[in-house]
Amino acid sequence: MTDTAYPGAVTPDREHHIDAIGVRLAIHEWGDEQADPLFLVHGGFDFARTYDVFAPLLAAAGWRVIAWDQRGHGDSEHAALYSWDGDLRDAMIVMDHFTDRPAPVLGHSKGGAMMIQLADAQPFRFSHLINLDGIPYKRTIPDVAEHERTRMLVSDLTGWLDHRRATASASRKPGTIEELARRRARTNPRLPFEWLSYLVRVGGREDPDGWRWKLDPTMRFGGFGPWRPEWTITRLPGLPMPFLGILGEQLEEMSWGTLPEHVAPYLPVGGRCELIRGAGHFVHIEQPHRVAEMVIDFLRDGRSAA
């Protein structure tokens, strides 16, 4: 079924939930149910239906495209706890639900970085790995004096803890579709306003006092922890499956600023990394046809090589 709210956007052919040890995860599928599965993993603060234009292009090439809303995102349940490891475990449960054979997996942004770690830990699940602008390689440290950096860290810490103290009664700020789209444009500045408005309709809900994103209000940007970006890229060289990285050239709020020359020394044998000139972090939304074509070609090559 075609959703006419945005050109090329297609409502998933099938939508359902699965239980991930007590957390209900929303599944969205495009394409023939009997076709081979291809998993799409969304980025942080996104949701599966951000693939509404991109996924149907892959489905049209003969794949059963399966995406899920990570816990707390989209139509999935708001959990008590969120963590990187929890998200990886949920991914395993989704994959196990659909297949016991290696399958191709594509991840964008945080979803891409997560899948690098899962591919390293459990390579038997992956026939191919595609990463869309999700290869963190170094922390972007502002060029400021040490005492200023400490002040920023204190601000991050207290801001996060103050937020946690208030999460029990937190709710997302309501607004019109246009207001929510404008807010999202702050972190997605290159994407068309019409697309962002479409995202509000599929990623938000309309309450009596206005629209709200479905995203769990306990989640917020920033934060802190022991994780370091370089821990992701150092997992790349050992990956045994065919690997394709696709990076956006234009830096923006959500980008890691990673370029092919940063990735090149870490590429696994036979892997490659391409740069999409003129595109930002959301390469598959800015240039869906081109990126889909690259993915389909990559998967076709991999199949014929196998």
Binding site: S83, D85, G223, P226
Partner: protein, 217 residues
């Protein structure tokens, strides 16, 4: 006679036990180790503490909520402890094992409210590695009982780089009015704690010595 009250942290009800009531002096907040729960009495080393004595059950432990689906991190337990701090006001904190690590994070994150943190031996003191490992991931059967198996699994392997831990020492020292806001009573010193001990603002002492010093600070 002990009593318990419940605090809310997101979707979790946290059990905060009052082991000894007192209006005098500063409260003492006890943080248990991994897989433990709060003491049901004032431990002998805290008998001489001049104020009230409280003990918190972390998420997934003791009388606190055991959530479904895991997702634990030391930083979430830091937020648990911070919710207790919000309820109690300025405290001295004693942590065992995992609770010692959380006490350090709390001392750095809320230096004006934590008047001394004592880091003691106990379950979960070491935590995980100091850098990424080849550890895999596993789905555990659902078991909604305390201690939550996911807490045991995830919090026993959380990464603890020494320079991350020492950042919290620096924050504690910069934000505290005390000269030495952290006391290490632990005999065993995993890498993160060995790095902490070497920092300015950290002293080594027995629990008794540390509490005596903090009681008058």
């Amino acid at each position: 006679m002990t009593s318990v009250r419940f605090l809310t942290h997101n979707k979790v009800r946290l059990a905060l036990h009052e082991l000894r009531a007192s209006d005098a002096g500063r409260p003492l907040l006890l943080l248990h180790g991994l897989g433990e729960s709060s003491f049901d009495h004032v431990p002998v080393w805290a008998h001489n503490w001049p104020g009230a004595v409280h003990a918190l059950d972390f998420t997934g432990h003791g009388g606190s909520t055991v959530p479904l689906g895991g997702g634990y991190a030391a930083e979430i337990l830091l937020a648990d402890a911070d919710v207790a701090l919000a309820a109690l006001g300025e405290c001295t904190v004693v942590g065992r094992g995992l609770g010692a690590y959380v006490a350090l994070l709390l001392a750095g994150a809320r230096p004006s409210l934590v008047r001394g943190a004592v880091l003691c031996d106990g379950p979960g003191l070491a935590g995980g590695a100091v850098a990424p490992t080849s550890q895999s991931f596993f789905v555990l059967p659902a078991a909604q009982r305390a201690p939550d198996p996911y807490a045991l699994f995830e919090l026993s392997r959380d990464l603890r780089p020494p320079d991350y831990a020492t950042t919290f020492v620096r924050l504690a020292l910069e934000g505290s009015a005390m000269r030495e806001p952290i006391a290490v009573a632990a005999i065993v010193r995993p890498p993160w704690l060995a790095a902490v001990v070497d920092q300015v603002g950290v002293t080594t002492a027995t629990i008794d010595e540390a509490l005596r010093a903090f009681a008058s600070a």
